[in-house]
Structure formats: C-alpha cells, structure tokens
C-alpha cells in the first residue's frame, strides 16, 4: 500500500502517464502525415534504446544497427513474398535470422576491443549493404523490393491503415522498452556495466565478459530486427540505400544526443533528431551536417547528451 501511494505521489509517474496518454491519443490530434512520421520515429526509438544497452551499459561501440534493421526488413519481406508465409510468421522468422547473423559475426568480432570492434562492425554494415545491392535474384538490387504484403487483418482490425498500424507499433515499442528497462536494471544489466567499467577486472572476478558482450550485441540486433520487420510491412518498399552506413551513423547520433546509459535518453534523442530531420527535408545534406556538428559539440562539452543537459539546467535553477 505504501508502495502504491509512493508510486502515485512521484512526479515521474505522472510524467510517464501523461506521455503514454499523449501517445495513445496522438492519431486523433494530428494529421496522418505526423502519425506516419511518429511511426518511423518509434522504429528508430526501438533501435536506439536497444543500442543503448550495448553502448551505454556494455560499453561496446558498434556501427551496424542499420544493417540489422535492414536484415530484419529484407528477411521478413522475402519470407512473405517468396515463401508466401503470413506476416505473423515472417517477422518472428526474420528476427531469428537477425539474431543468428549477429551471433555469427559477434562471436569472432567481440574478442576484439574498442576501436577494432567498431571498425569490424562498420565493415559488416557495408558488407550487408553490398549483399542487398548485388544479390539481385533475391533482393531485386538497386531497383528495390516492391509488392510487400501489409500485415493481415486480425479480429477485424485492418492494419493497412496508418492509425491501426501505429497502435500495433506502439504496443511493440512499449513492450520492448519495458523489457529493455528491466534487463538494464537486472543482474544482467549489472554484468554489462562491469564489462563496461573494467573488462580485465570483470574477467578476474570470473565474469565471462565475451559472453555478456555477445548477449548485449544479440539483444540490440534482435530489437533492430523487430523494428526492421515492422518497417518492411509498413513502408512496403525496400531499397538498399535505406540501410547504408549512414543509417547506422544516425542511430549512433540519436543515442548520443539523447544521453547514453539511460535507455530513456536515447528515446528523446530519437524523437528530437527524427523531427528536426523531417522539418529540414528541403535541405537533405545540410541536416546531416548539422547533426554531425551537434554530435561533435555534444561529445566535447556534454558527453551525457540531452539528459545531462536537462540535469545541468536543473542544478543551475536550484
């Protein structure tokens, strides 16, 4: 009982309730276009918050979240087009494939540390892009993969409408954030932090650091795969250029802008970055220039990102 009253008195609780209500009411308040942008933002929010588990908790810098997003998207689309599987089966299958690729690459790559690992994942992202581009028999190459089926109607709910799909993505998003948050605050999360803080020390305590790094890497890939699968049947057109190293770089920027090691920080980062990107659509290259400059300034002056900035303002106010 005490716990509940404490829970209700906390400012944080009301803040989260307000955000949730806003997200639920969103399609009735804004145009379909904004809803559409929010769906895309939610995909990125899923990717960055899972990436935060890898970067912010396990301390491993990787540059291939865009590739896992792409593998999830292409695999799910191909299962439904070439094998004729229902989307409810093709998305889980694509997630399994993404996780397998991550485990296969992560196993040798995670024996490396820091920059070596980062460079390897950078290359993985490029290699995956080359596969999307060149294996024309499978992915239709530079022409793009068309004719992807929408999610089948379930219980009379037609998922080809943006609003209904928005709710589905919102549920997936909420579930993944909840699971990630619980993971980050569990014993597993503590293991990740021990790897981040001092790998040698963790190892000397008998912690299997390679295993925990691999687990963090696979979890982050898995969530990116889910987002990819959901994206494929929402956008219904896949093109290799959506999944270049620039996508992976944007994921890193969003995470760092938000503030690493917080799970929620990157969500703010993803929303801010996505919406400013949308507003600056008239100058496509300039917006990436702006974000790259922003990232460099953040790294030099406020490494904890927007979360750190908010805390700093609060302290000044007091």
């Amino acid at each position: 009982m005490l716990k509940i009253t404490h829970f209700l008195k906390s400012k944080k609780t009301w803040f989260y309730i307000l955000i949730s209500l806003l997200l639920i009411a969103l399609p009735f308040m804004v145009s379909e276009y904004i809803t559409y942008v929010v769906v895309l933002t939610l995909f990125y929010a899923m990717i960055v918050s899972s990436y935060d588990l890898l970067l912010g908790y396990a301390g491993q810098l990787s540059f291939c979240q865009g590739a896992f997003y792409g593998i999830g998207a292409y695999a799910s689309a191909l299962f439904s087009i070439k094998a004729g599987f229902p989307v409810y089966l093709s998305i889980p299958l694509s997630v399994v494939i993404t996780a397998l690729v991550a485990a296969g690459v992560g196993y040798p790559a995670l024996r490396l540390r820091g920059a070596y690992f980062a460079v390897t994942t950078f290359f993985l992202a490029h290699f995956v892009y080359l596969i999307f581009l060149n294996e024309v028999w499978l992915t239709n190459g530079p022409l793009g993969l068309r004719g992807i089926k929408p999610l089948e109607a379930l219980g009379g709910i037609d998922f080809s409408s943006t609003t209904n799909y928005y709710y589905l993505v919102l549920v997936c998003f909420a579930a993944s954030i909840y699971i990630l948050y619980r993971t980050a605050n569990s014993n597993l999360g503590k293991m990740f932090i021990s790897v981040r803080e001092d790998e040698d020390l963790a190892e000397s305590f008998g912690i299997n650091t390679s295993l925990y790094k691999l687990v963090a890497f696979v979890i982050s890939a898995l969530v990116a795969g889910i987002a990819g699968g959901l994206f494929a049947h929402f956008f219904r057109l896949l093109h290799p250029s959506t999944f270049t190293w620039l996508t992976s770089e944007m994921v890193v920027i969003m995470t760092l802008v938000g503030g690493i090691g917080t799970i929620f920080g990157p969500l703010i980062g993803a929303s801010v970055v996505m919406f400013i990107l949308e507003f600056l659509r008239f100058a496509p290259e300039l917006r990436f220039v702006i974000w790259a400059v922003a990232l460099i300034i953040i790294l030099i002056y406020e490494p904890r990102g927007l979360v750190g900035l908010v805390e700093r303002i609060r302290r000044v106010k007091r």
Partner: protein, 286 residues
C-alpha cells in the same frame, strides 16, 4: 591473357599504392595517438576537390594542384587534431566517436557544397601512354606507383634517420617517459597528423585523374586503409606498406577471378580472417 594479367597487376599496384599511402599515416596516428582517424576519409575527399578546383577554376597546371591538395590535407588534419581530438585526449571512446562523426560530417558537407555528381580532374600524364614490348600503360599510373615508393623512402628516412623520427618512435613506445626526456608530446601529435594528412592528400590527388572526384570517394579507401592497418599489424610501417599493396592486388585479381560485385567486400573477409587467425597482424608484435 598475359596482357590482362599485366594490366591488372598495374591496376592492383596503383590501388595498393593509395591504400598504403593512407595506411602509413593511419598506422602512425592510430599507434601513437590511439585514434583510428576516420576523418582521413574526409580529408581525402577535400584534398581531391582542392586539386580539382585548382585545375578547373584557377587554371593552374596539374602539378601545382598536387601542392594545393597537400597543403589542404595537412592543414585540415592538423586543425582537426587541435580542435576536436585534443580536448578529448585521455578518453579514446569519445575520440573514436568524434572521428566517425567527422567522417560523416566531411562526406555530407562535400555533398552539400559540390553535389554528389562525379567530376573529372584532367591530368597531362594520363594522355601519355608508354609502351613496353606491346604492353601499354599510362604515365599517370606509373607516377602513382613511383611517387608512392619515393614517399615511403622519405617517410622511412624521417622515422629512422632523423632526430624528429627518433622522438616520434620514442613517443610511440612510451609516451610518459618520452615526455620526461623533454619531447613535446603536442608537437609530436601535430607532426604525425600533418604527415597523415599529407600522405592521404597526395594519394587522393594522384589517383583522382584515373577515377573521378566525388564526395563519397573517400569512404572506401579509408575503410580499406583501416583494414590494412589491422592486417599489416598496428604501428608497423612495413606492415602498412606490404598490406596495402597486397590488398590492392587481391581486390583487382579477385574482381576478375572471383566476383566483381564483391570487389569491395574482400577487405571485410580479410579483416575477419586476420582477427581470427592472426590478431596481431602480419608484421605485428605478439
């Protein structure tokens, strides 16, 4: 048949020379300053554009544009070190992120300024064709290979025979003790970044007439040079040299005999194999 092999051998050496030139600078920077300097990819692009504008806009001769490219590359590299890497010294994690952000920034800035369209940098050397017993090759290609070798000899002389080179090697071995011996660490960092920027710029300006000048031209050479650094062995001059040429040859011959589409994927396979079987690299310690 033999002509094809000879022609591909020259192509492989030309590409290899570019990888080696960038890799020599990268391996120095990576082993001494502990930064995998992704920004060199952007410097490569900007140096090539500097050469391009010197020739097409200002109508200076091609040889003069090489000088302009080198000045651009060196200044850019030194400025980046001073402004972006120096404040973050001691936190390699942030430095790596800044390096990649710079790479992303310079590539997109180039697209913003000069559009993604590929441009041709004319060179008088490209028109001169040399004949060796029925086998012909343009003077530009010969120049790339010859210039690369001349530079390697010069860099080797600098590192092994001069006092400055001794100071650089001392800093690489043990930065703290080197500082105690009166070596100015900041100055050494400036020198290695200048050297790296200079070598990258020369590589870009030399190869630009053979291919094209466009904003994303730096991405692949940079990634391959990073692989060469790991493949050859971190901090190894000879490793960067040999690794670069070897990768160039593997790519050109792999493109004919294995797959053209995955020409740029071979480096990834080499990287993974190196990391599994010989993590120290070909000429690395351990």
């Amino acid at each position: 048949m033999i002509e094809t092999i000879l022609a591909q051998l020259v192509n492989g050496l030309v590409i290899g020379a570019v990888y080696s030139l960038i890799a020599v600078g990268l391996t120095l920077i990576w082993s001494i300053a502990d930064i995998p300097d992704f920004a060199q990819g952007g410097i490569y692009t900007f140096a090539a554009f500097a050469a391009y504008f010197t020739v097409t806009l200002l109508h200076f001769p091609y040889f003069f544009s090489l000088v302009v490219a080198v000045i651009t590359g060196t200044l850019l590299s030194v400025t980046i070190e001073k402004v972006c890497y120096r404040p973050l010294r001691g936190s390699p994690f942030s430095q790596l992120l800044v390096a990649i952000a710079l790479f992303f920034l310079l590539a997109n800035l180039a697209i913003f300024l000069w559009t993604p369209k590929a441009k041709i940098l004319p060179s008088p050397l490209e028109g001169i064709i040399l004949n060796f017993a029925g086998f012909s090759v343009s003077l530009q290609r010969i120049t790339v290979i010859a210039a690369a070798f001349a530079l390697f000899i010069a860099v080797n002389f600098l590192l092994k025979r001069t006092k400055l080179g001794k100071a650089i090697r001392a800093t690489a071995q043990d930065p703290e003790t080197a500082t105690l011996m009166g070596i100015n660490r900041d100055f050494i960092y400036t020198v290695i970044f200048a050297l790296g920027g200079c070598l990258t710029a020369i590589a870009a300006a030399l190869i630009a007439p053979l291919y094209a000048v466009y904003p994303e031209m730096g991405t692949l050479p940079l990634l391959k040079a990073l692989v060469v650094v790991v493949f050859g062995g971190m901090g190894s001059f000879i490793g960067a040299l040999a690794g670069g040429f070897l990768l160039g040859l593997i790519e050109t011959f792999g493109a004919i005999y294995v797959s053209v589409a995955y020409q740029h994927g071979f480096a990834f396979i080499i990287l993974i194999l190196t990391l599994i079987f010989k993590p120290g690299g070909l000429f690395g310690r351990s």
